[in-house]
Subunit: 625 residues, 2 copies
């Protein structure tokens, strides 16, 4: 197999430890509230008990085809937590769940409770709809995470046996197949990294290459099942309408599309397959330049939880599933490692601070599955969902957030995200520690102190965010003019312990416009400051927030409100709101009869914090006046 | 029974003959294209053959529960046509269909093919979902129309037998019941008018009073069927959540809601029931002041074809079913007769010229079921629908358009709609003829010449449309200052043959604003001139129409384009369109980086004419600049 083609590598699980005033409450809510809460919900809903294989026909609550995926993501999240915050009780709980999984695994390695007790004998008969390999993928990711976090092989061995069973079942000269919900592809590449087994990459590559081939596998499969009903979804829904290298546009179910894209990027990176990487780039452009919300959310349509047409980005009816924004973070992170281009990190940051973070309540106990950019006031987070993919997905991302902070290559270190804490990496065989203090995302100032046992020459490559127009960099107090190449200011020098780099990013409030073909945003602006996208919530504003107009020239002030939701920067300004007097009893009237709008003060809060207080209307895009 | 409480009465079917340059093409398309086309579609889809009762289990294409309603509306449309345009072949065809219906009627009067051949023995077992009385209502309307148009009793006798069967089955001391899809209530009042039988009004009143009572009929009915599944829709969907007099808001399926409201108004008018009339007024306010599109369309949501919340009026995803706008015309017309208030005529006119008329293509052969106020370019009329309620509904409304033009009371004549043609009415025992020539809706000038055998004193009450700010009235060339009372300028005098009244309505282009709580229209205006709402179609404009901004001060010119779609007034002006240059490869950017928009000429066409030329994007509400 050719050499992997990544230009950089993420750090180990403990390579970056985040102790940041911004992130700490989120990470603690995740660790102390969300992860225990998700466990409890898995228990309460029968997801755990199902692993005992005691369900019998006629019993209530039959184990669902994708219950394992929720448990797997919980195990993955818990494992990451164990890496950074050793916790005996949690370790014990994880071992106990792994024990249940071990008991549910069949002698041949197969591991899906539904097809063991509810529909025995029907394994792998409906790859199109039934998520077996999707669940397997999440179990594999959990196995790898658990192994990396704890060094224990218990779950890794289980998932290797399952992966081997799948490898023995599918592939050239075996059964043809690929899963209707992508996920196993990226998981198999992780398993290869953890085990050194190249055949896992080959299997991932097989699944990717098989996808979309004609004759269409899912038709053959349906005929074999004697299922004469037409496919309930289009092949585009599951990205199997064309071989992946022929796909020019991101289509269908947004989470599926992102997971496929991740798997493609992983296989391309491992194999050096330029055609596959080119396909990734096309899907990236399609997703991020034509189908992404300003919050980094993906998926315009409720129907099929799917991407819409180019620039189809309705706000109130946006689907924008939390998992899809997470998928975009994962995809961006992969392309960033391969290409070392800050535009991937820009999107990663946008999705993380906005589209992902809004998926969890401030207290870590409620979740958004759907993330509209406007609401009449009826949209709220829930404790859990029957289809519970999002809660453990946020949990695992937040628990592994350190992985996204920085990467290393042979010549130095890349810093992608700014968070106070410590980064430890081996550069040129030498351990280097960076201690970061930052005001991010509320302020643009960052100081990085270096520590190492002996001076070392390497490049420190600091990301200059795409949203930043002016920045200053100094080393030990002296301004340096570091050239920005593909989004990173590179400072190559002989570093000594105690060296201090300071970064200052100008962070004004920006009015952001959307491409004029995004019809729902025409004549409107969104407010953004640094990486954070803002919204107006009704509770902060007297005038109905969706009726407030924002004059182009109205000054906008950013102010840190230390009382608000643990402290955040709010944006304040004066907009125009209608005088409702002349509207009494009228639904339409000539514009000239509507009174001139009145000046009203308004306050905008970070979008990711909305719906954490009293319920009410919300809007991101403000009409210009 | 108390005396009916209507303040005016519509004229007979032939009381107003329309020979108007605006309407003629529509009425001819309806008569020559649409009515034959719908007949052919009914034939081709098996709706006619089904009446032979030859379907056997195992045969394809089982007769559907609501096929009779399509045929009935076709019969109604054809009958109205026979009244104004005698046509031997059509008369023969109508008789032939009536013969088929006679053959399908059961000895006890029952008449629904589905429950005769597909599910015999299941009659009236699912009033909630199965539309039997809905179909009966349309058959009754057809029977009354046919009788009034031709004097023949053939269909009237059939529907009387059916109505008698229903009357013998349901009511106090008999079975409890009311239909999940309202319609029979208004039809029974028509049948009362045609036959003089009061019990039909009593039966309508019974159905209306029974609606929404607890214990909930449809639960009892479901239990009796052994149907343990929860109701697939909410009681609100079919307006059976509360007794009608307790309903404060218009909710649920918009067509159902309108037909119920019509039935309520009819019964209230017949019985003088003030509580029922008050309920009608509440539903009217709710529908027209809080849930109506500027086009007079109703029903914001695809889900349930339903009303949304107050001011929930999304444009691109509007449902706005053609039948619901027709239902609004019917409801408005009823309240207008009862209350003699021009605001009902204003809404009737708005819905007719915009929400209804756009439902049919210019050539009368294609139909919109759904009428969004914005489109990315993919929404187009179709030849027919499996659920084909809309095409014959437009056909029957257009074929009876004369009924909506004027009404009479003891002291005079009301003119509601302006169309060139002739009105003949009996006023105070004397026949009076009005010959109208008008530029409406393209111009505000109307001349009305009176003719009668001898001078007569009566009031001519001419509607001054709500959209009109300035008008002039003259009699025989001399200005008169007629006081406008509840929307009508009343000229009471001793009229002589040859008297001529002229009306001149100022008809500038208006920018119309929506109530600021209609979030989707905030910062936007719609263009309206006279009763006609405009839209921008892509084919007329170079700049993407959904990106064009309209400065508040930009002059707007109206011009009659005699080449366009048979001749219509277009609105032309200069708007602002984005320079797409700085957007290449970008989806979002700071507003200050987006180039200043450029001046672009644009052309708007009447909304009701859209999608009659090359397909493309369309928008009604333009963002202000």
């Amino acid at each position: 197999m050719p050499r992997p083609t990544r230009r950089m590598q993420p750090l180990d699980l403990t390579g970056a430890i985040i102790s940041d005033p911004f992130w700490r409450p989120w990470l603690e809510a995740n660790r102390h509230a969300s992860i225990p809460h998700i466990y409890e919900m898995c228990q309460r809903t029968g997801r755990l008990d199902a692993l005992r294989l005691q369900w019998k026909p006629g019993d209530p609550n039959p184990p669902h085809i994708f219950w394992e995926s929720d448990l797997a993501k919980w195990l993955e999240a818990a494992s990451y937590t164990l890496a950074t915050h050793p916790d005996h009780a949690l370790d014990h709980r994880v071992d106990w769940v792994i024990g249940l999984l071990a008991g549910a695994q069949q002698p041949d390695g197969y591991l899906n409770v539904h097809y063991t007790v509810v529909e025995p004998g029907k394994r792998w008969t409906n790859l199109r709809d039934c998520h077996e390999m999707y669940c397997a993928g999440h179990l594999i990711e959990a196995g790898v995470a658990h192994f990396r976090a704890t060094g224990k092989r218990s779950l890794l061995d289980i998932v290797c046996r399952y992966a081997d069973h799948i490898d023995a079942t599918f592939g050239p000269g075996k059964r043809a197949g690929y899963c209707g919900h992508e996920e196993i592809e990226l998981a198999l590449v992780k398993l290869h990294h953890a085990t050194g087994q190249e055949r896992y990459v080959r299997l991932a590559e097989y699944f990717i290459n098989e996808r979309g081939k004609k004759p269409y596998l899912y038709d053959i499969e349906a005929a074999a099942r004697g299922d004469a009903k037409p496919d309930w979804a289009t092949p585009e829904y599951r990205q199997s309408h064309l071989p992946v290298r022929e796909q020019k546009e991101i289509v269908g179910h947004a989470v599926r599309a992102m997971y496929l894209a991740c798997g493609m990027a992983d296989v391309a990176a491992e194999t050096g397959d330029a055609t596959l990487l080119a396909a990734c780039r096309r899907l990236w452009e399609s997703a991020t330049n034509r189908k992404m919300y300003v919050t980094g959310a993906l998926g315009a349509r409720h129907h099929g939880e799917a991407f819409g047409e180019n620039l189809e980005l309705p706000n109130e009816s946006a689907y924008a599933e939390t998992c899809a924004a997470i998928g975009l973070v994962l995809f961006a992170h992969r392309l960033l490692q391969i290409e070392a281009d800050g535009r991937y990190a820009d999107v990663m940051e946008r999705a993380l601070y906005n589209g992902v973070l809004c998926g969890m309540s401030r207290d870590g106990q409620k979740y958004f599955y759907v993330n509209p950019l406007a609401s009449a006031g009826g949209h709220h987070r829930q404790e859990f969902f029957d289809c519970a993919c999002c809660p453990p997905n946020i949990a695992r991302l937040l628990a592994s957030l350190g992985r996204y902070v920085a990467s290393a290559d042979a010549g130095g270190l890349y810093v992608h995200l700014y968070a106070s804490g410590e980064i430890r990496a081996e550069i040129g065989g030498r351990e280097v520690a960076l201690r970061t203090r930052t005001l991010y995302p509320w302020g643009g100032f960052t100081a990085i102190a270096l520590a190492m046992t002996a001076p070392a020459a390497f490049a420190l490559r600091l990301r200059i965010p795409g949203w930043c127009r002016k920045h200053k960099i100094a080393v030990n107090g002296k301004a340096v003019a570091a050239k920005v190449v593909r989004g990173y200011a590179s400072i190559r020098r002989r570093w000594q312990s105690g060296d201090c780099v300071t970064l200052d990013f100008q962070m004004p409030v920006e009015r952001v416009a959307a491409h004029p073909a995004a019809a729902d945003d025409v004549g409107r602006v969104a407010l953004q400051r640094g990486p954070v996208v803002y919204c107006l919530e009704q509770g902060d504003n007297k005038a109905p927030v969706r009726s407030i107009l924002l004059p182009d020239k109205a000054p906008l002030a950013a102010r840190f409100d230390k009382e608000l939701l643990g402290g955040c920067v709010v944006i304040e300004g004066a907009g125009l709101a209608p005088d409702l007097g002349p509207w009494k009893g009228r639904l339409y009237q000539p514009l000239r009869d509507a009174a001139k709008p009145k000046r009203v003060k308004f306050r905008a809060v970070p979008y990711f914090l909305w719906d954490n207080r009293e319920p009410g209307a919300m809007t991101v895009w403000l009409p210009r006046a």
